[in-house]
């Protein structure tokens, strides 16, 4: 049995962490004049919006060429998958693994995890045991921390494009998928940031509250 700050009418400022008392849903922090709220405004909605945008752009990011390489010995347009396959066939399976994890597994895992979290919070019929809640919270922390690493592919392309510019002999250019892929990474990060993890516990408090009043 526990109480939440929100149930006591207390809100903490996200900027200066000052805890203040408020009656209304929205208020202004008495110390730093930031907007303070019990929970982040429209957290679930924002998260969904960024997530949907990321999923949309995930399709071109994987189907369109990521890197346009041309040299005296021919030219090639590589998508993420073909790059991974190339590395794998080339024998550099560890590199292939890294790229595969960073560029394919992580974004898709992030998106799937976010969807699960969002649905768990949002759907009323979902029973959340304390253990599951803890797993959800851990998942959220993991995806929030590894988000920036999925930009690996973009780093590679960006590096090659600037380094390998011998004009006549060889050149590497970023393909249209680079833009989409970059957007996917940014959008998933935004989605993660916009989600308020406290929502995971709110449901259980509500339940507790209901049980207490009953």
């Amino acid at each position: 049995m526990s109480t939440t700050a929100a149930s006591l009418g207390l809100v903490s400022c996200h900027t200066c962490n000052l805890v203040s008392r408020t009656q209304t849903e929205e208020a202004i922090c008495p110390r730093c004049s930031s907007h303070v709220r019990f929970r982040m405004a429209g957290s679930i909605g924002h998260c969904w919006a960024f997530l949907v945008a990321a999923m949309i752009l995930y399709v071109p990011a994987n189907t369109l060429p990521m890197m346009l390489t041309s040299s005296l010995f021919g030219s090639s347009d590589d998508t993420i998958i073909s790059g991974v396959l190339f590395l794998w066939e080339d024998g550099s399976w560890y590199l292939a693994l890294i790229v595969f994890v960073a560029s394919i597994l992580v974004p898709i895992g992030k998106m799937l995890a976010l969807i699960i979290i969002l649905l768990s919070v949002q759907l009323p019929g979902v029973e959340l045991t304390p253990g599951r809640r803890a797993r959800l919270a851990r998942t959220y922390r993991v995806i929030a921390s590894i988000g920036r690493w999925s930009m690996l592919d973009i780093y590679v392309v960006g590096l090659l494009a600037t380094v390998v510019q011998l004009t006549a002999l060889a050149s590497v250019r970023a393909g249209p998928a680079a833009l989409a892929f970059g957007a996917v990474v940014v959008l998933t990060m935004l989605a993660t940031e916009s989600f308020d993890p406290r929502l995971i516990w709110d449901t259980v408090e509500e339940e507790n509250g209901r049980r207490a009043t009953a």
């Binding site: 006591l8 008392r21 408020t22 008495p30 907007h35 909605g45 369109l64 010995f73 989409a180 959008l187």
Partner: protein, 550 residues
């Protein structure tokens, strides 16, 4: 969580009025993402361009996803897929052309693989050693688009947009020509051999050449082409002549052409015109024989040494050739004849015959010209071209004394009357002479002759015996004669004196005197003669009987 913090220690936040429901701007983000994604996909799809299919014999140097299609050395496409043809006869390459190139892909657009090539005259495609082969494209002129093409095995010698003209030659053989062999005009390289192929019937080779602008304007329907390959060496009465076009053509062969400017009406070349590629320049400049008349000659002599292709000449000018020699058995007369078929090119007779340009078939109206010539005694005859080799040729000439003959123009192949050859003539005459000589009775003649000689002998002997007394008589006569002469001399002396008297009387200038003088001179000459005679007779008394010998 045992004790709640004292409420008064917690500051109160400034309340904000509850704002109304605001538009969820955040949902613009997926909308924008959708737009961007759609745009990327659409632009990528639009950039794909046209897909075409090119079939090649082999996929040598081709790589799916690597080999480019280039037009004027600019990438216009990429081979995306290479498959075997369904009947395994070749490969089928699927290529994707860049956007905008689809309007260039028309029916006669050509594709070929550029590989390093080193031939006698050209070295090309060396850059492909490093970059790998690529497929080159030459844009056609047709207006109807196409998707399926057959790749060329060899690069075309010229591109469609190159100014100039393409011509077709027909040759007996290819000689040392190859694709890219030069074409010369006045020893200037003006074009090259673009392609060659065997004619369908296998009897000749069809060579396609391209003459670059501006030299193609020197081409007319009268242009003559000949092999300029190698060295043309001729040994004849003028000595040894060696003709070549250039060092390059010696090495790799070539074609030369020239256009005689004296021809009457040079007409532009028809689209499907095929020129003859002659063996050498001399042959090329022979009058073209567009018309030929066939005749049959029947010889009753051996035609050993006469071959198909032997010349038919008219007083040294070649007017035709022997086309075939047969033997023919006539079952009625049981005779074997040797009909020799010849071709006569009537234009050679009439090249300088103004206004009588033969238009077709027989010269004149239905061969009347030839019939006239035969009427006037023209005959065919076998003659020896070379005493060493015994080669024969057919000579046409006039024999006014030849027996009358007519040219039967009703026959499909009229028979030209022949005449035995000069040698045969001589032979026949000799035989006839021998026959006549054989008929002469030489034996009896010899007997007669010896008889006559004997008679003469006896006659002479008789004369010897019978004439001796006559001779002695003659001698006496001579003595008497001398006496007489002495008397005459005396008389003469008297006469002289008389004459002197007369001279005195007549005077040196009188007519009588001069007459007398003449007479006297005459007389004196007579006397001299007589003296001479007397002397002679004295020395050769037998002259009286036998006459004056030598």
């Amino acid at each position: 969580m045992a004790d709640a913090p004292p409420p008064d220690r917690i500051p109160s936040a400034l309340s904000l009025p509850k704002s109304g429901k605001t538009f969820p701007f955040v949902w613009l983000v997926p909308a924008v993402a959708l737009i961007i994604g759609a745009w990327l996909a659409i632009s990528h799809y639009l950039d794909r361009g046209t897909t075409i299919i090119i079939s090649f014999r082999t996929a040598e140097g081709l790589q799916a996803g690597k080999t480019k299609i280039k037009y004027k050395d600019i990438d216009v496409g990429l081979i995306t897929e290479i498959n075997l043809a369904p009947d395994f006869s070749g490969v089928i390459a699927t290529a994707e052309l860049v956007k905008g190139a689809e309007s260039r892909v028309v029916e006669d657009t050509r594709f070929w693989v550029v590989r390093p090539r080193v031939s006698g005259s050209t070295v090309s495609g060396l850059t492909t050693l490093l970059s790998g082969s690529y497929v080159a494209m030459d844009v056609g002129k047709s207006s109807s688009r196409s998707r399926v093409f057959t790749g060329l095995e060899n690069p075309p010698a010229f591109t469609t947009d190159a100014p100039g003209r393409q011509i077709t030659l027909r040759a007996e053989d290819i000689g040392s020509l190859d694709i890219g062999s030069p074409v010369y005009y006045r020893r200037l390289q003006v074009g090259q051999v673009a392609a060659y192929e065997l004619e369908k019937d296998g009897r000749s080779v069809r060579i396609t050449c391209f003459i670059n602008a501006p030299y193609h304007q020197f081409l007319t329907s009268n242009s003559r082409f000949w092999h300029a390959s190698g060295i043309d060496m001729a040994v004849d009465s003028e000595g040894v002549r060696i003709k070549t076009e250039s060092l390059v053509s010696i090495a790799i062969g070539g074609i030369a052409f020239a256009t005689p400017f004296d021809e009457v009406e040079p007409s532009p070349i028809a689209k499907d015109m095929v020129f003859e590629l002659h063996r050498n320049q001399a042959r090329a400049f022979r009058n073209p024989d567009r018309l030929s008349d066939d005749y049959i000659l029947v010889f009753n002599q051996s035609v050993r040494g006469l071959q198909p292709g032997a010349t038919v000449d008219f007083r040294g000018i070649v007017v035709g050739e022997v086309s075939a020699i047969h033997t023919q058995f006539d079952p009625e007369t049981k005779q074997i004849t040797i009909p020799v078929e010849i071709k006569i090119y009537p234009e050679r007779f009439t090249s300088r015959m103004l206004g009588v340009r033969p238009t077709s078939g027989r010269l004149g109206t239905k061969g009347k010209f030839m019939a006239d010539l035969v009427d006037r005694g023209m005959r065919a005859q076998l003659r020896t071209g070379s005493l060493l080799t015994g080669q024969l040729y057919v000579a046409l000439d006039f024999f006014p004394d030849a027996p009358k003959a007519k040219l039967d123009l009703a026959q499909a192949v009229p028979e030209l009357p022949t005449r035995p050859s000069a040698l045969e003539d001589l032979q026949q005459t000799l035989v006839q002479l021998a026959n006549k000589l054989e008929r002469v009775p030489l034996d009896t003649m010899a007997q007669d002759l010896s008889h006559t000689l004997k008679t003469v002998d006896t006659l002479v002997k008789r004369l010897d015996t019978e004439m001796a007394p006559t001779l002695s008589e003659g001698r006496q006569t001579l003595v008497e004669l001398r006496k007489t002469l002495a008397e005459v001399s005396k008389t003469m002396n008297q006469a002289t004196t008389t004459l002197a008297n007369a001279e005195k009387s007549l005077g040196p200038d009188s007519a009588l005197f001069s007459e007398l003088q003449d007479t006297a001179r005459e007389f004196s000459r007579t006397a001299q003669s007589l003296r001479a005679l007397a002397d002679y007779l004295e020395r050769n008394p037998q002259a009286l009987i036998r006459g004056k010998g030598d």
